[in-house]
Symmetry: C2
Subunit: 284 residues, 2 copies
């Protein structure tokens, strides 16, 4: 079984354990780059074009050269074709500003097995704590240098928030703005069901537009299930008919506990999974 | 002349242009690590122990294994000894969480020539714009997951702020909190002279404790020049007898223009340089 598959952009497969990055790559020196995480099922990269579009959007926010879609498709497909590690694979696309001493951006795709923890959480759900991101809401448009809503490699605080949640006995986090407005998870989008409507917070709060949330809402609308983009508070989450963390790999993972309070399981998770563009068996 | 010198922690000199980092190093995938930038003059790493202490402090905030001071001294000295590129060198210490697929943290020291831009700015000063960091003040203690005051590799927003400043015709930035409180520069500490006293904002605002600012204040106190740690606003900067951005490499770079308004040059910069623990010729 393949443990990990790596292809360099514009090149091809490389040994996954070999050192491949220069020590002065701005991806490591400054967290200066962007990425995407894509779920691959049975050789199909789910919502790949949406991920590629978001990679380009993030790159533009960081003033990186626009990623060439054709090259990225080839690079990703190279990894997908070389994978023999099971039906599902996590595919990461990474684009950095390249070496500080000069040279083109660094790009690569990396395939790896799904985290067993995330796989278990898909079924069992997660306990979540709300943590402040410390920012006032509605900054994204007026303060572009904060890169709010860009998927950058500068994820140290997202990782620290997850460690903090673990210390509190939880598995994940929902960030809030300084006024309590619900934002997003460190690596997920928040979706709630309220009175038969699926709701998610608006992008203008400075959050990443979710590819999985978007696919879910498309599926919901096609199935006649109303959706709404609206601001939410923590009390809204506690009062909802269901709260989910959505992302490519965790799909729609139910939140069973929020800040120590149990949330109801109204049996909606399988129905939401059915709305995603996936083989029916995945996620169950 | 040596362009760049690299030594791996616990190992030794390596070719600076060879690929040395694994592609799944969490330093690049998540900006998950810490660093220091040290000025080396005539083979002496200025304030090295203070930088090492701050590296350890940042590592603790990220829950990285505590850096071994002896190993880092050896690693840094290896780079310093191999340098033949001039009197001054920028020495970077980088510590990442290591490969995602497992293994020890990644550590290395890298020596490089000083940026000609920063060298020129030492003498000519800089035009600065104030930009909001978007955060409410006084979060550092209550929200440790925000890593405020840690020198992490997740510097994408700091770099974006500098690009934004350039677009506005400036060369550097002073970040402010959402209430206008002066915080710090993207890679510097703010120091002002007011009525014969040197002032700098307090760490509890969630800013990096400056090694250069600390050395400056030690020198000032020894010379009988009063210092104070206090909150500052942008009007305070505009009314000051002098504003400087302090960091290891830029030393005490004067701010000659703030948000488009000229600041007075009261001739204090050479006096401040004299307070730093440096050969007298450096920085002039």
């Amino acid at each position: 079984m393949t443990d990990r598959v790596v292809a360099l952009l514009g090149d091809g497969l490389v040994g996954p354990d070999a050192p491949l990055l220069r020590i002065d790559d701005l991806g490591v020196l400054r967290g200066d780059g962007v990425f995407e995480t894509v779920l691959v099922v049975d050789g199909v990269a789910v919502e790949f074009e949406a991920h590629l579009a978001r990679l380009a959007r993030s790159a533009a926010m960081l003033e990186l050269p626009a990623p060439d879609p054709a090259s990225w498709r080839v690079c990703a497909q190279t990894v997908v074709d070389a994978w023999d590690g099971g039906r599902e694979m996590t595919l990461r696309l990474v684009l950095t500003r390249g070496p500080e001493s000069g040279g083109p951006p660094t790009g690569y795709a990396m395939g790896a097995p799904l985290s067993p923890t995330l796989l278990a959480q898909r079924r069992q759900g997660v306990a979540v704590v709300t943590l402040t991101r410390g920012t006032v809401p509605d900054l994204a448009a007026q303060a572009p240098w904060l890169l709010l809503g860009a998927k950058t490699l500068s994820y140290a605080t997202n990782m620290a928030a997850l460690r903090h949640a673990e210390r509190l006995g939880a598995q994940d986090v929902v960030f809030t703005a300084s006024d309590g407005t619900v934002l997003e998870g460190p690596t997920s989008t928040v979706v709630v069901a309220r009175g038969g409507t699926l709701c998610t917070p608006p992008e203008e709060l400075g959050i990443l537009p979710g590819t999985t949330q978007a696919a879910l809402f498309r599926g919901a609308e096609a199935a006649g299930w109303p959706t709404r983009v609206q601001r939410l508070t923590v009390p809204d989450l506690l009062a909802a008919d269901g709260v989910w963390l959505c992302s490519s790999v965790r799909l729609v993972t139910p939140v069973h506990t929020l800040d120590g309070r149990s949330l109801p399981d109204t049996g909606l998770t399988p129905r939401l999974l059915d709305l995603l563009p996936l083989p029916a068996v995945i996620g169950r």
